[in-house]
């Protein structure tokens, strides 16, 4: 079939089963937008900023497990999208992002809206392409989707000059990919797996360290079975929330900088770390030389470069977590869960000593209460997105997650402004669930224009703004480590969030009491519209526990006991 480069893009999307594209048109990508206009196989959601298009595609991908697709124009369209690419790269989210480029004849001439897009995206994508001939386009499109979703997933960027989208060539998508240099290793080495099982059977205080790779590999239910059958306690990273259900007796909690006391102590006391789909991020490990100091390490990951990068793995296993855990399950009979009884009791004692909790305040709502309350009212019926900051950590700590892909957050890059557009993508992927975005008075303003997107497309995202009139997390660090010099973090001057939501055609609520909050959330869910629920919360609340940056996991700042003040 002889078609234009622009039509090839559309045909490839259809062949890949894409049902939603997020994007923003402009000069260099107009040929493709013309073809979008003519087709009815997928919907296009017009975000109001290119960064939001990529975050929406990320949210869509994280909620659905499919490759997210975004489309943008050249120059500023592309540079606006870079933050999204970097965010997806850090969190291993499969995306295909297509940008327009000036025509081939103008490349290198500093033409209008020209920028070296592939030069910029090289360091924040899994792979990228500059298409110089439409003959290559079918192969490149097919490779892009394949590379994005296989191995350790990630964003792939395709930059297409305008004349290439107009060029007419033969289109055949039924081609065999010949990627001699890209062959992800998905099957774990059986001998290593056997050794790992033997190590688990011998360990006295083993600990599962569960990461986001489990969710990427769709392995949560295999991991649940493995945890159940071995009776070994587990900690989750922020990325792994929902792998185990919150009410699983073996789930200790989240570990790391704002992990629970019991989780961090368990990691410090364990004699065998069973790391599944993790990468020993600095926010998890704290001081490396003190991290799991007395433990051997089993590390299962699809990315060989993640293994022994920061913490030496005694039992390295390169492979897809789903495959490896399935193989391990076949030998699970060698492991006797009774051996870990006293270890489980130790952890219960840790939890009783310093449970993850907060103190209520009679005057103002505590932000943690809001998260817990949403969990009580919506629970499994909601998907939870967040922005970045204190509210994000409270969401990770206190929401009762019940399933994988329920929690969508910018973990590695920590991108403020991620939450609202991501929650739009989540709702597009999973319309049957309520899409909640926990955000702060700082973060929400970083992509607030998405009110228009959500209202126009009737995507009823409920944004819960935990308003403390501060850039809270930075304020917390200033309070603790900069002698209370709150440099540029006081956000007392604010818009009227209720009117702001209304100005775009959404609904706004300002709540100061628990009763008002319950009523607002109930109303927003019932009305099924785009909403801002602004909750006036305690200004100086800190996220606790906290491992100061670079400190050891067992040296936590803890919540003051009531009456300590």
């Amino acid at each position: 079939m002889q078609i234009s480069g622009a039509q090839m893009v559309i045909e490839a999307f259809i062949a890949e089963g894409v049902d939603t594209v997020f994007g923003y048109p402009g000069g260099a990508i107009m040929n493709v937008y013309d073809e979008i206009y003519k087709q009815d196989k997928f919907q296009h959601i017009l975000n109001r900023h290119e960064q939001a298009s990529v975050h929406a595609a990320e949210g869509y991908s994280k909620a659905s497990g499919k490759v997210g697709v975004a489309m943008i124009t050249s120059g500023p369209g592309f540079t606006n999208a870079v933050t999204g690419l970097a965010d997806a790269y850090m969190d291993s989210i499969p995306l295909v992002v297509i940008s327009g480029q000036v025509p081939m004849s103008l490349i290198g001439t500093d033409a209008f809206q020209e920028i070296d897009a592939v030069g910029i995206s090289r360091s924040c994508t899994k792979h990228n392409y500059l298409v110089t001939d439409a003959k290559d386009l079918p192969r490149i499109l097919k490779e892009a989707f394949y590379i994005a979703r296989t191995g350790r997933p990630g964003p792939v960027h395709i930059d297409i000059p305008k004349d290439v989208t107009a060029q007419i060539e033969e289109f055949d998508y039924d081609i065999e990919l010949d990627l001699e240099t890209y062959k992800p290793h998905t099957k774990g080495n059986p001998r290593q797996i056997k050794k790992a099982i033997e190590a688990i059977a011998k360990a006295k205080r083993p600990l599962f360290y569960l990461g986001g790779g489990i969710i990427n590999a769709n392995a949560a239910y295999e991991v649940r079975e493995f945890v159940q059958k071995t009776g070994i306690p587990a900690v989750e990273t922020f990325m792994a929330r929902g792998v185990l259900s919150f009410d699983d007796k073996l789930l200790i909690g989240m570990l790391g900088m704002h992990g629970s006391y019991a989780s961090n102590m368990a990691m410090s006391e364990t004699d065998l770390v069973i790391g599944l789909g993790v990468r020993f991020d600095d926010r998890v490990t704290g001081k490396l030389s003190e991290f799991a100091k007395n433990a051997d390490v089993i590390h299962v990951d699809i990315d060989p470069a993640s293994i022994s990068k920061l913490v030496n793995a005694d039992y390295p296993i390169v492979g897809d977590v789903k495959n490896v855990v399935s193989d391990m399950l076949e030998q699970v009979g060698k492991i006797d869960s009774n051996n870990y009884e006293s270890w489980r009791e130790t952890i219960i004692n840790f939890n009783e000593l310093h449970p993850l909790t907060f103190h209520e305040d009679s005057e103002r709502i505590k932000p943690q209460w809001v998260v817990k309350r949403v969990g009580e009212l919506l629970g499994d019926d909601a998907n939870i997105s967040t922005d970045v900051g204190q509210h994000q950590m409270w969401a990770g700590q206190f929401y009762p997650f019940t399933r994988p892909r329920q929690f969508i957050s910018s973990s590695g890059l920590g991108t403020m402004g991620f939450g609202f557009p991501a929650a739009i993508g989540v709702k597009a992927a999973s319309p049957e669930k309520t899409s909640i975005n926990f955000t702060g008075d700082g973060s929400i303003l970083m992509n607030v224009q998405e009110l228009m997107t959500a209202v126009e497309k009737k995507i009823p995202v409920i944004n819960i703004i935990l308003n403390n009139n501060f850039l809270g997390m930075v304020r917390q660090w200033q309070t603790l480590f900069y002698d209370k010099r709150h440099s540029e973090t006081d956000l007392s001057v604010q818009p009227d969030f209720v009117k702001l939501a209304e100005a775009f055609g959404g609904i706004g609520y300002r709540v100061k009491t628990k009763e008002e909050f319950d009523a607002a959330l109930k109303d927003a869910v019932e009305k099924n519209v785009v909403a801002f629920i602004e909750v006036i919360v305690h200004r100086m609340e800190n996220v606790m526990p906290m491992v100061p940056s670079g400190g050891s996991l067992f040296n936590m700042m803890l919540l003051e006991k009531k009456g300590d003040k």
Binding site: S123, L130, E180, T181
Partner: protein, 158 residues
Amino acid sequence: MTEENQRRVVSVIVINEASVLSRITDLFSGRGYNITSLTVAPIPDSRYSRLTIVTAGSVRVIEQITKQLHKLIPVLRVYEHEDMVEKEMAMIKIPITENLSDINILCEAYNGKIVNTGENTIIAIVTDEPKRIDNFLNAIKRYNPKEIVRSGAVALER
């Protein structure tokens, strides 16, 4: 695990396509690795090129370098050389007024010779192990070289 910086030679086989070299060098600069020298040329009768990179780092860093290189999509193979034959070339331009027979003897000791004579200068080439090239360049200083070019190392596993 030793944390000292070691000199290492790494060969990388890559698809010979646009921007592949930038992918490699961006990886080094972006992750703070060191490039001492880098040579590239196509492998005859194939779609691949071979890069020889001389780098330095601790054992852990070198391991990361090879793994990260492998992660790049167009990279076919990475050799972290242990037992190799390694050679480098140097070209030197020297005034014709210097003692040419002494220079020629010196070059011969390093697998080289005078390859060009001009009106005012001569050009000599030597080919040897990088360490010995260092020695040669020290020895040749007394003949007032005007220009020196080093090729960077190439290596083959034995």
